[in-house]
Every structure is written in structure tokens, then in C-alpha cells.
Amino acid sequence: MFEGLAKRIQNVFAPFGSKGLLKQEDIDQFLKDLRWLLIEADVSLPVVNELVERLREKLKPQTGIVSPQDYLLKTVYEELTALLGSYRPLKVNPRGISLYVLAGLQGSGKTTTAAKLGYFLKRNGKSVVLGAADPYRPAGAEQLRVLASENGLYFESFVENGKVDIAKIQSFMKKSLHDVLILDTAGRLHVETDMLQELSMINKQLNPQEVLLVVDAMLGQEAANIAKSFKEAAPVSGVILAKADGDELGGAALSVAYVSGVPILFMGTGEHIRDFEPFDPNETAAMILGI
């Protein structure tokens, strides 16, 4: 992911090679080019506009600097790393089992990601349970059960009579000797207010260590709206980008990170259980800018 953006962004910096000075009109031209580039990279338009305004405030005309290009690169790099957040490990409950709730749009990749994250944590020595909490998707629990059993993870269903059984989750967590419970919730749209309400209730009653928003890296302009609505409905603490193998521009990633204000923690890069890796914001920003 981001390779396409990296390739194109070089052209925006190129004209400012070694001119020795940077005038206001150069800055204006640079920002104009950058704006079109970000739009073409599928970053949501309101996010593009805000980003460009933030850069406009930061960038000042320069005289006698060795390389205006380096100055521009450095400023954009700082902005990008601020936007992408910094790497941190998942929060752990010191007093018992850690609960990670996965939420997101229909088909974004939650169930697959639950298994991938579980497998990742298992390889790091944790005892992991995948918990089914999606009453709506036909065979959704079965999908999670199959993935758990194929990958040596524990499985528990918390769906009773077409509902998520919160009390069952609570009592399971009280008794459990496992390290981690990953809760796979139903897909919901950012405009389905009753479904967002349900998510909000689950989180209020369970108080998880992490609420992870699983987003499709292939999202278009909707990315900003999605991040905003989920953030309002639940205490989203991190983002997992699924299907990063389907996108080379990274526009949705930038939009979601910007609007949610929480870091991207992991990235899914394929359908297989091992196609999953921690996300490193600094490395990514450097890669995008080719530095």
C-alpha cells in the first residue's frame, strides 16, 4: 500500500530541487499540486482541504536555504507522522482477560481480521479466544468458528436468540483464564443509527481495552464519514486496515487516520491468516515521501 502515492508524490516535490529560495508563489504552486495529488489518491475531500490548510500555515517563504525541496519534504513528513500517529502495542488488562472489540462496515473484513489478530497474538505467546457477537450475518458465527479451529484458537459464541448476550460475555470474562478475547461484531453502516446504538451499548457495558475499527483500505470518499460516525458511537482506540493488498494509494488510510485521530495499528494484506502485520507510521511516512 501507498506505493502508488509514493510514486506520484515525487513529481510534486521535483520542481523545487535546488533553487536556493522558496517564494510564496512557489508554496502556493506546491500546495495546489499536492491538493490535486491527494484528491487523485482518494483522500476524502474535506480531509484534503484541511491538510492543505494546515501546511499553508506552516510553510513560510525561505531565502538562502540549500534545498527548498528538503524543507518541503521535512514539513510534509512532520505533518504525515502527526497524522498517522505513532506505533504502540495493544493495551493489556493487568487484572484479567483483555477484551478487544472489532467493529466496522459490512464486509470490511472484521471476521477475517479477528482470526488474523488472534493468530498474531497467539504467536506472541497469548492464549486467545475468538468471540462471535454477530447475530445478523448468515453463518457469521460459523465462519469465525471454522477460522478459530483451523488456526488453533479458542472459540466461544455469544449470540443467543438473535442477540448479543452481554451477560454471557461478562461472566465468561470473569471466569476465563485466557489472555485475550477478540469480539467479532456485526457489520453496520455509519448511517444505521440503531446499529451504532447497539455498538455503543456493547462498549459501555463491557469497557474493552481496545475498540478497533476495521476499515477496508479500498474505501472511497465515504472514508471520512465512516471514521466520524464510528468515533462518535464508540470509543474507537485504533484502526486496522484490511484489504491493503487491494489498494496502492492509501487515500482511505489517510482519511480515516485523520478523522478518527487514532493510530492505524495493523494492516491486512491478503486473505490468508499470516497476511497481517503491525503498522509503522514513521516508516510509512518516510516510504511515501521517498526519504
Binding site: 465462519q143 471454522v146 479500498m218 472511497g220 465515504e222 493488498d245
Partner: protein, 272 residues
């Protein structure tokens, strides 16, 4: 019908509206040029958009039997669309065979069979990991009475050549029975993925004879502007629009409704 010239603010506003409706930048700019020539007027804008929108084309379901393939990237709504179409044709009294040719994803077969098990349709599936071509072969061979075969396929990322090739193999199985097969290869595009759908279509057409598009998840705030670019470049029409998870949340595509939603003349939904 002649409108006033656009102010720079109005130009910017219109361009923003089109970009946020998932038009490509190139297409949005071209439309803006056309509108600038004709003047700023809501009727002008609507007329320009309508003249550029893909036209309505009905499903090719008149020959008996017809075979439809439902294809697309992961999680866009293929399986749900197959169930919706099965429901639609079963209600019309057609003899429907649903073919579960996704042998890759965990519980894909259970998902589809659960969705259709209360419908008066025939379901033909197979074990996970088994050959999808054999499932289709078996379905076509054993159901001479069918009027329509709806084939659900595994999700695949458009840049994965191997998986796209596998899809053409599946289509070849159909050809063994009749040169007319498949009547439809429907590429499902997730509305929330916006302009990415354009890139998916551009990739899938290389090797797959796509006959139409299905736009899903239009119960979101997505508007589907990418179908304009797909029509420009590939002349692939849109056939169906889906707007929810229930079996009835599907309708034929209508250029008027899509344009109205883009311009914000209704709640943004297609389910009026």
C-alpha cells in the same frame, strides 16, 4: 434553456460535490467544462449528468436457461446479491438454481445455503477447497429443467492475475454446455469503495467478459459517481442497485435516480 455563468465559488462547489460523489477528478472536470458552457442552472446540470450517465439496460434473462456469474473483489456483496436475485426470480415463478462456487472462504457455502434455504430454489454447492468448476459442471448437468443459474464466486482482488485467470476457467465450463453461456457476468461494486470500483472494472475486464455492474451498499451516503467513468471507458452498463441486507433491498438501475441522489434531490437512497 440558458443559465448564468458560474462564479469561481460555484465552480468549486460543484467540483467538490462531484468529487465527493466519487466521480474521478478527470470526469468531474470534464463535466464542469460542459456545464460552464451551458450556464449555471439546476436543469442544465441535471441534463448534463443524465446525458453522461450509463443508460438502463435490462438483465439478459430471456433465453432458457440463462447463466449469470456474480463476480467482484472481497466483501462487496456478491453472495447477498445472488440471494436477492434468487428471491426475485423465485417470486416470478422461475426455476432457479443457485450455484455455490465459492469454495475458498470459510463458511461461504453455509452463508449462501442459509440465505436461500427457505426459497423454492435448488442449491448446488461443494466442500471447502474443492474445485469450483466441478460444482458448476454438476449443476449444469443435473438441472436441465432450470430457467436460470445464479453462480456465486469467491472474492478476489482485481490485481491478482492468478485469481482472475481462475475465473475465466470457470466461465469456460459454462461454454462447454452452450456458446450462449454465460448470459451475464455481473461485476459487483461496493458503493462505499467509490472510485476504486473504476480501477476494479478496468482490471477485471482484462480477461473477463463483464456484461453489467451491480452497485451495492447504496443505503450508505455513497453516490456511485464512478459508474460514469466506467461507462465512458468500457461501455459497461449498470443493471442493479442494492440498498440493504434484506432480500428485497434490490432494484433495477435507474439513471434518473442516481443523478437525483448525486444532486441531493432525495434522501440519497435509491429505495424510494
Amino acid at each position: 434553456m440558458q443559465g448564468k455563468a458560474l462564479t469561481p465559488e460555484q465552480e468549486e462547489e460543484l467540483l467538490s460535490k462531484l468529487i465527493m460523489a466519487d466521480f474521478s477528478l478527470k470526469k468531474a472536470q470534464a463535466l464542469l467544462e460542459q456545464i460552464k458552457e451551458k450556464g449555471n442552472n439546476v436543469d442544465v446540470i441535471r441534463e448534463v449528468l443524465l446525458s453522461e450517465a450509463p443508460p438502463f439496460e435490462p438483465l439478459r434473462d430471456t433465453s432458457v436457461p440463462s447463466v449469470f456469474f456474480i463476480i467482484g473483489v472481497n466483501g462487496v456483496g456478491k453472495t447477498t446479491t445472488v440471494a436477492k436475485l434468487a428471491h426475485m426470480y423465485a417470486k416470478q415463478g422461475k426455476n432457479v438454481v443457485v450455484v455455490g462456487a465459492d469454495t475458498f472462504r470459510a463458511a461461504a457455502q453455509d452463508q449462501l445455503s442459509t440465505l436461500v434455504n427457505r426459497m423454492p430454489v435448488t442449491y448446488v454447492g461443494g466442500e471447502r477447497g474443492s474445485d469450483s468448476g466441478s460444482i458448476l459442471y454438476k449443476a449444469l448437468l443435473e438441472n436441465p429443467q432450470a430457467s436460470v443459474f445464479l453462480v456465486d464466486t469467491a472474492g478476489r482482488i482485481h490485481t491478482s492475475r492468478a485469481l482472475i485467470d481462475e475465473l475465466s476457467k470457470l466461465i469456460k465450463v459454462g461454454k462447454k454446455f452452450s456458446e450462449e453461456f454465460p448470459q451475464e457476468v455481473l461485476l459487483v461494486l461496493d458503493g462505499t469503495q467509490g472510485i476504486q470500483g473504476y480501477r476494479q472494472a478496468m482490471s477485471f475486464v482484462q480477461g473477463t467478459p463483464i456484461t453489467g455492474l451491480v452497485l451495492t451498499k447504496m443505503d450508505s451516503t455513497a453516490k456511485g459517481g464512478m459508474i460514469f467513468s466506467i461507462w465512458d471507458e468500457l461501455k459497461i452498463p449498470v443493471k442493479l442497485v442494492c440498498f440493504g441486507q434484506q432480500l428485497d433491498d434490490i432494484d433495477f438501475y435507474s439513471p434518473q435516480r442516481v443523478v437525483d441522489a448525486i444532486l441531493g434531490n432525495n434522501g440519497g437512497g435509491n429505495n424510494d
